[in-house]
């Protein structure tokens, strides 16, 4: 499996993709994130994909699925480091990242996640982004 360490920082999981993902690596990441989310109450997921040069329809769909299943488990997801060229390609491919929050850097991603969690806390337990 490709290297994707998953760290926990309080109620947030931080997963950093360190190399291009094969399909099986991406599926393994989805499973492992799901397992970690079920293990312990988690309110946010930061997924760093800044080293990923190519996001095709398979990986794009998987990022959507990861965010959706995290939301069902009460956690908001922010995908960090999607390159502008990748974002343009995804739209042309017909695969916008709907329901996935994005940020350019880890720092901005963490700030966005905190803001989402604060808003979620004000609106109630089922309103997480």
């Amino acid at each position: 499996m490709a290297r994707v360490p998953i760290l926990r920082q309080g109620d947030v999981l931080i997963a950093s993709v360190l190399e291009e993902l094969r399909d099986s690596d991406a599926l393994a990441l989805q499973q492992q994130l799901g397992a970690r989310l079920e293990q312990r109450a988690t309110r946010g997921v930061l997924l760093d994909v800044s080293v990923v040069e190519t996001v095709d329809s398979f990986l794009g769909r998987l990022l959507n699925e990861i965010a959706l299943s995290a939301r069902l488990l009460g956690a908001a997801t922010v995908v960090v480091g999607i390159r502008p060229a990748v974002a343009i390609t995804l739209v042309e491919l017909g695969l916008e990242l709907r329901g996935v929050h994005t940020a350019l850097t880890m720092e901005k991603g963490m700030a966005l996640l905190r803001r989402l969690l604060d808003e979620g806390a004000r609106r109630g337990p089922y309103a997480g982004g």
Binding site: E20, T54, D56, R83, A85, L93, G94
Partner: protein, 140 residues
């Protein structure tokens, strides 16, 4: 046959690792030819979609990708990638190209999306004869 104007690079596609190798080589060639970052991304992604079709649907998941520069063309400089397999083939190519068509396998997503990323896409396929997809992009 005379010498070809540009050397063709042929890459085997037989597994998930080859999908990554094929799209990375296509990106490198696009970069060498002077394509910009967005075009490099479009070309690499299109190759990724086609190579995945081979791994998923071709007999034994095997095929090949051939990459070459199109230099001596009236349209200027371009890149051409031909992805072939000897899989089951596509019975209705027009249907496979239609937006929203899905056999439940994701192919419906792959082909129209891939066409949008490139300037040209041609499919040669018939049941039992395999599939050859040729894609081209021209530098602006």
């Amino acid at each position: 046959m005379g010498p070809t104007p540009a050397a063709e690079e042929r890459l085997p596609i037989a597994g998930e690792t080859d999908i990554i190798a094929a799209r990375q080589r296509a990106r490198e060639l696009a970069q060498q030819l002077g394509f910009g970052l967005v075009d490099q991304s479009r070309i690499a992604t299109a190759v990724s979609e086609l190579a995945r079709n081979v791994v998923r649907y071709a007999t034994g998941g095997r095929g090949e990708a051939a990459l070459r520069a199109l230099a001596a063309s009236p349209r200027g400089i371009g890149i051409e990638i031909v992805v072939r397999d000897e899989g089951p083939g596509i019975a209705d190519v027009a249907q496979a190209m239609r937006e929203g068509f899905s056999s439940g396998t994701g192919l419906g997503m792959g082909l129209p999306g891939t066409r949008r990323l490139m300037d040209e896409l041609q499919i040669d396929s018939a049941p039992g004869r395999g599939t050859t997809v040729t894609i081209r992009k021209w530098r602006r």
